[in-house]
Amino acid sequence: MKIVLPWLRDWVQVPGDADEVARELSLRGFEVAAVEHGRLAVIDFEITANRPDCMSHVGLAREASAIWGLPLEAPPEAEPASSGPAERLDVVLEDPDLCPRYCAQVFEVRTGPSPAWLGERLEAAGIRPINNVVDVTNYVMLDLGQPLHAFDLERLAGRTLVIRRGRRGERLQTLDGVERQVDPDMLIIADAERAAAIGGVMGGAASEVGPGTGLIALESAYFHPASVRRTSKRLGLKTEASLRFERGADIAAPPAAIARAAALMARIGAGVPRGPLTDRYPSPRAPVRLRLRAAGLARLLGQEIPAPDVPRFLEPLGFTVEPARDAAGPGWIVGVPTWRVDVSREADLVEDVGRHYGYDRLPVTFPALTAPQPQPDPRIGRERLVRRVLTSAGFSDAMTFAFIERQAAQPFCTPGSEPIPIANPLSEKFAVLRPSILPGLLDACAHNRRRERRDVRLFETGSRFTGDGEGRAAAFLWCGAAVDPHWSLPARTVDFFDARGVVEQICAAFGIEPDFRPAERSFLVRGRTAEVLARVDGSMRTLGSVGQLAPDVAEARGFPPSEEIYAAELDLEAIAAGSPGGDLRAELLPRYPSIVRDLSILVDEVLPAAAVRGTIRSAAPATLVSVVEFDRYRGQGVPQGRVSLSFRLTFRATDRTLTDREADEATSGVLAALAAAHGAERR
């Protein structure tokens, strides 16, 4: 809302320049977008949705009057010229729900340009002058906040205005030249035959006031806010009028606004009334009176307000204030002006008193802590732990959007399911909710790759979305070097075991011993994919998967097909479920030495390492404390189709020093079991 400073001074003689006026009003809740120091100083305020009354000069003048303690003066206008012979106009209010009040009056007009002062003010306020009649309606709207509309009376069939709902299939061309379809949810103003305006939104082209217009019907109404808003949204049509009506106009204003227009038309010689004011207001609203308790005021603000300040702040704003004491102590009965549609409770009055007392004068205090806090949400700690593990593993923390392109999401959906669409996406790039965090990370890797960063490790923790709802997950992506380049080390690119190792670390952080099984995922390479499982409540539950990203998926996001990218995604709820709860029990350190035996065997190369490990574990006595695969070799000396595996077995007893013989016997037992189960030969 652009306030023209000299115009504001018609109402109240505010001191100071535009910057000072802007600063004082901004401290009372009227944010300033800009101050223009032109020939007419203009302050552009951002009026909040609760204060439609301040989408006008008089509204801000009332605030200024309360700030500076200056009187509000009615602007000097000529008395309206007396009415000529009455011209007929019929007003039929069919829908008082959507239009609780409708006023109209006939004027005889002489259209032409407005005087310079009026045109300049309108232009300074951001409205293009059109002709003196239309300009007067706009001027009154900016002055009082009440939108007006002028119909060319002689182009209204039957000289009738019918305020009714639109009919199915009914159309009209609005003033912007667009042909629009109305419907029974919309309120329209019709003549005896057809729609002539969309109530509170825009007039029709057919009855537009132009150079040939001789008589007008001047409309000043109160339209139902929700109805105007619905209509304006449905038609995609926002106007100065609809913005005011949808927030709530002043139901007392329509007759006064017509009177003001009449006075202005008389002053600039634009027209004179030809007939009495018609005012259809079938159910007048009762005035709102509220109780304001001194104790409630002090309690909510945290500051006692001197009693004389309450009328001093409220009366200039149009409230009536009478002291009143009741059981709750001293206070006031406050009459609310009709334009203050935002004031319906005591708290609303507290705000007005507080605003004009000054928030800057409030003390600085702290709320008392009266009870201990409940346990914190466990999700916060567990995501911090995941972040700690992954940053320690060299991954940087990424944040990607929750909505992505449909094609990017598709490979990550479980077979047979579709990503969840957004009904009104910003663009196709943000069409669906992500079913996985990985597509966003993949694009982030691609972004870095295009900027000469080929070695990328990124992770993200966040929500992902499927038909079953939303869940929290952690995902990482690794491409390029497995180890940072160094003069002492051979270069190596990331492989499956780098990625699996990171998953093992995350699981270890939660006290989980994961199981990795060969698996298939639509977005991972077959044969280089593992499902990660853990024991939860006695059965195996999937935590997620790890593997090489399918080259076609990566290629679609701008990677060369040869690039090997490894990825993993873990369900954080499953991890939490698999994590042993309760307090940890510390173990005493071993008191007896351990014995190490290395074992090299030849087995079929397709035999999974986990099978060999399982056989070793079950064949060995309880003194076996660890099994480590330390070599895997194919080539010279190893027959085709076989592989040499080397294990380091560590034995230790908790109650005595083991003998070499015991270790040897255990190792022989393991060898025999491996030979029986897998045809293993000692190497």
Partner: protein
């Protein structure tokens, strides 16, 4: 060739005498090189020469030579172990070559700020809660005094789901939350007062991309409810939080505003770091009349940082709190905006590109 057995004895005697004379690590290394280095060592040479001995002699000589080698190794090792540790004795490395630092990932700047804020509020006695990003209309709007067709819904242009989605929190979700206030409603539905919590998380609005807008951003909202919580308490809490976050040098300003779920409502401004709160542009120093003023704060000297207010009685009614008995305050701020005001990140889109050159500017 002389008698190999005698030669072995001589070698042993020479070695014993050389070893006896050796006194430093360097001497010992020289002795080791002379006798047992693979190339040119006397014992290595001896072993090779045994190939030319008569076959019947070879096993015995081999045994003798091997015994000598074991003798030398054992004596050398014993002497080396006895040596006092000497720094000069170890091979020098070029300490100016780069090391092998373990790779550490960087925290996202928004994570850093979020955790910093969580730490401040935790110290002020606040609980941290989390909740769903998909919400129903009731928890996102209606319970917050935003009925359908409320004009203030325009303040938060909403992204809706094409199909309702099952929600663990209750009724099916139909939209992406526009703020984290829905979590506060859920919390109040389940817990009686007092309440003192913050709700951080990602929120979504149908905003086009520009320097200060992305359709997803991160918020921290707070809520305090008790029997005598006041606007002055709100001011005190926010000022304490912001002074810790931004340091004592920035000025703060508390002024009225509007939000549908609070009454009275307030915003907090922080003095502009670019102009030091003067509102003046770079040309003002030279007293240029054409100074356009500070571009960051648009001449005002202040930057808006946070919205807040006293919880609207209608919100308490929606969750079953008695608004006559309880009062409370709520506040919310965007973490991206804090990053802008604190670190000067002037393009919010950088936070979501995940360019490592950007992420790596922030501490580990």
């Amino acid at each position: 060739m002389e008698d190999p057995a005698r030669h072995i004895d001589e070698l042993r005697a020479r070695f014993d005498s050389d070893l006896a004379q050796a006194s430093s690590a360097a001497d010992l290394r020289a002795v080791r090189d002379r006798y047992v280095s693979r190339k040119g060592g006397l014992v290595s040479h001896l072993l090779k020469s045994l190939g030319s001995a008569p076959p019947v002699e070879r096993p015995r000589l081999g045994q003798l030579a091997n015994d000598l080698k074991l003798h030398i190794d054992a004596r050398l090792s014993a002497r080396e172990a006895d040596l006092p540790p000497s720094r000069q004795a170890l091979e020098a490395v070029d300490v100016t070559l780069p090391g092998r630092p373990p790779r550490l990932g960087h925290q996202h700047p928004l994570t850093i700020l979020r955790e910093r804020m969580e730490a401040i509020f935790t110290r002020l006695g606040f609980l941290i809660i989390e909740g769903p990003e998909l919400e129903d209309d009731y928890h996102n709007f209606e319970a917050l005094n935003l009925p359908p067709e409320h004009p203030a819904r325009d303040m938060q242009d909403t992204l809706y789901l094409g199909t309702p989605v099952r929600s663990a929190a209750g009724s099916p979700a139909t939209l992406l939350r526009t703020h984290t206030s829905g979590m506060q409603i859920r919390y109040m539905e389940q817990h009686p007062p007092p309440v003192r919590l913050i709700a951080p998380g990602r929120v979504y609005r149908r905003d086009d991309f520009d320097l200060t807008h992305t359709p997803m951003f991160t918020q921290v909202e707070g809520l305090v409810v008790g029997e005598d919580v006041s606007l002055a308490d709100l001011k005190g809490t926010l000022f304490a939080f912001l002074r810790e976050l931004f340091g004592p040098d920035r000025q703060l300003r508390f002024r009225p505003s509007f939000f549908p779920y609070t009454e009275p409502s307030a915003e907090v401004d922080i003095s502009c770091a670019a102009c030091g709160g003067t509102g003046l542009g770079p040309k003002s120093a030279a007293n240029r009349p054409d100074d356009a003023g500070c571009a960051m704060c648009k001449r005002s000297g202040w930057l808006e940082i946070l919205g807040s207010g006293m919880v609207h009685p209608a919100v308490f009614e929606a969750v079953g709190y008695d608004p006559e008995r309880y009062t409370g305050f709520a506040f919310g701020l965007g973490i991206e905006r804090v990053a802008l005001l604190k670190w000067g990140v002037e393009d919010i889109r950088l936070f979501y590109e995940n360019d490592l050159r950007f992420l790596e500017q922030f501490p580990l």
